[in-house]
């Protein structure tokens, strides 16, 4: 399978990355080179094989359902580009 420049623009939109025409052009070639490389997998017979879900067989660890952490709002917003009263500030989303 290979991608065209329109697909690259659509994927970039899904990935929330702004691309210029020049970027999209270059990425089309690069992505097709990588997709061409992974095409080798078509040779492998995977009938009856389960997809891997965990590399080391283990049961997911669960903890007790109780509060173990918190009260750190100031720490959590400390690195944000824009905040007010321990809230993250973003451009207006709802009119």
């Amino acid at each position: 399978m290979s991608v065209d420049i329109e697909t690259v623009r659509r994927v970039a939109r899904l990935a929330r990355i702004a691309v210029s025409d020049e970027d999209a052009q270059r990425m089309t070639g690069e992505l097709n080179a990588i997709l061409g490389f992974v095409e080798q997998l078509d040779e492998v017979d995977v009938s009856g094989i389960e997809p891997m879900t965990s590399v080391i067989p283990m049961e997911m660890k669960k903890r007790q359902d109780r509060v173990t952490d918190g009260g750190k709002a100031a720490d959590i917003v400390a690195n944000a580009p824009a905040t007010a009263e321990n809230f993250f500030l973003v451009p207006k989303v709802v009119e």
Partner: protein, 521 residues
């Protein structure tokens, strides 16, 4: 006083405890070495002078009080991927500009609890995506190793009667170094270069497809990626969560064992951290490999592999045979599919993990006309080319209509790769010996690699299988190529049998010797 930075961790540990010098003296020796060398090597992207001195002083107090941790007073470099409380943590990315976490990763917290001293944060490929350290926002790291031309001349015995100068004859060796700058490998390029250039006693690193073992091989250092689940991933900036593992890069096998023991733990904060006690890895060193079965996988003899790599592999086989191990030819039939499957699984997981960099909670924000425009502009400005490429591939293979054809297929192939290893281990193979990399270090800005991303990806052809199967793997230096550059061998072990790797690697190290670059930096 001898140069304190030349001591291994084991040597420094003994001398600190014997009060031959203080942790403060050792730390200062490293800080001056870094200040002198870093403008040339670019291994560190943040040097934490004050923190290092404060930690060293606290170590000296503990040493005086007899409360001594396993790494008491040992100065370490930390890959920029590990969250360090209040210190530079940016995964060498522009998108995390200014990020200083308010928490400490479990691995580094474990190191500080054992008395280690932090020297600073080490350069790396952006988000650990790369094999040459050239994708870093902070620029490439320079490998302390350089290519050399070795000229030899046989000198006859002479006696100059008049002047009285005599020569007993012998071989004169002259090395002429090439000024071309080489990569240290990646993604843990800063870690490997700093250890190799004596700018830290040891370093933390991480490995998703070979990012500990390939740079270790390129710099003549020892690097181990432990079994998936052995080191906690909590507080390590995520790349591909099902593949990422932390491990050390060190000057020798013993130091790597000491570091891994301190880094590894069972951590309730990481649900994939495995509930198994951490063994004393150092105790495995010096053990015999007599009767051990070493597998030699025929699929690792790849087309175009230099003769020198093949010769090195044969030397490794001979050393282990001489030490009493049994050499067994084995087959891992799905080896060639590991790299293509990796380039689906790793970008898929990365595209999901890197979705969090949106200009809202931390890092870079580029204003936009609405929130989506802000996301798109922030991410476009914040991520470098390679990272964007991988996010795009990941987004594509996970998108509607392609998920089964790419992602599910790759996860099935991954099970086949794992099964290959399980089959040979079931046949009684204890460890597998392979080359660590298909070549020695290459030049910075290598045109072939720059023009073809797949060519760069092939660096990981021998290491990536190990991540796909979650197994432990160690790279140990085994010799120099014709241009005087280090080459490494890799040992692959059964899950959680890192001790076997340390024991076997120590045998190779003893036979091969240790390798250090000639200082120019």
């Amino acid at each position: 006083m001898t140069d304190l930075t030349r001591l291994t961790i084991a040597e420094a540990r003994a001398k600190l405890r014997g009060r031959e010098f203080t942790a403060t003296e050792l730390t200062d020796a490293y800080l001056s070495a870094i200040d002198r060398a870093n403008p040339r090597l670019n291994a560190y992207i943040a040097v934490t002078h004050d923190k290092a001195r404060t930690m060293a002083k606290a170590s000296d107090e503990r040493l005086a009080g007899g409360q001594v941790g396993a790494l008491e007073g040992i100065p370490l470099g930390i890959k920029d991927l590990f969250a360090t409380d209040g210190e530079h943590t940016q995964a060498s990315s522009h998108v995390l500009d200014g990020f200083k976490p308010r928490y400490e990763s479990t691995v580094t917290a474990n190191l500080w609890a054992e008395g280690a001293v932090m020297l600073g944060k080490l350069n790396m490929d952006e988000f650990a995506m790369g094999s040459s350290n050239e994708t870093s926002y902070y620029g490439p790291v320079v490998n302390p190793w350089r290519r050399a031309r070795v000229d030899t001349a046989v000198m006859p015995s002479t006696h100059d009667g008049a002047g009285g100068f005599a020569s007993a004859g012998g071989v004169l060796e002259a090395r002429t170094y090439d000024n071309m700058q080489l990569v240290p490998g990646g993604s843990s390029g800063g870690s490997a270069a700093a250890v190799s250039a004596f700018l830290c006693a040891g370093a933390t690193a991480t490995d998703t497809g070979g990012s500990i073992r390939q740079p270790a091989a390129f710099t003549g250092t020892v690097g181990i990626k432990p079994t998936y689940g052995r080191c906690s991933r909590w507080g390590i900036v995520a790349f591909a969560s099902s593949l990422d593992q932390a491990g050390p890069i060190a000057r020798d096998v013993r130091d790597a064992a000491i570091l891994l023991k301190a880094m590894a733990s069972v951590d309730p904060k990481d649900t994939t951290s495995v509930d198994q006690p951490v063994p004393d890895y150092e105790a495995a060193i010096g053990g015999s490999v007599k009767g051990m079965k070493i597998g030699i996988p025929r699929e690792y003899r790849v087309d175009g592999m230099p003769q020198e790599i093949e010769a090195l592999w044969q030397k490794g086989i001979a050393w282990l045979k001489d030490a009493g191990a049994e050499i067994v030819d084995i087959s891992l039939p799905h080896t060639k599919y590991a790299l293509p499957a990796y380039y689906i699984v790793a970008p898929a997981e990365a595209s999901s993990n890197l979705a969090r960099y949106d200009g809202v909670r931390y890092g870079l924000r580029v204003p936009g006309k609405d929130i989506v425009d802000m996301y798109e502009k922030s991410r476009a400005a914040g991520f470098g080319r390679e990272v964007k490429r991988r996010i795009m591939i990941g987004t594509y293979v996970l998108s509607a209509g392609y998920y089964d054809a790419y992602y599910i297929k790759a996860q099935k192939v991954r099970n086949l790769i794992k099964r290959d290893f399980e089959n040979v281990f079931a046949q009684g193979i204890d460890t597998i010996l392979t080359p660590a990399t298909p070549s020695a270090a290459f030049g910075i800005a290598d045109q072939d690699m720059a023009n073809d991303p797949v060519k760069m990806y092939l660096n990981d052809v021998f290491t990536v299988t190990v991540n796909m199967a979650g197994l432990p793997g160690i790279a140990v230096p085994a010799g120099l190529d014709g241009k005087g550059l280090p080459l490494g061998l890799q040992l692959i072990g059964r899950p959680f049998e890192e001790e076997t790797l340390f024991r076997t690697a120590a045998v190779i190290e003893k036979a091969a010797g240790r390798f250090s670059p000639e200082q120019w930096w």
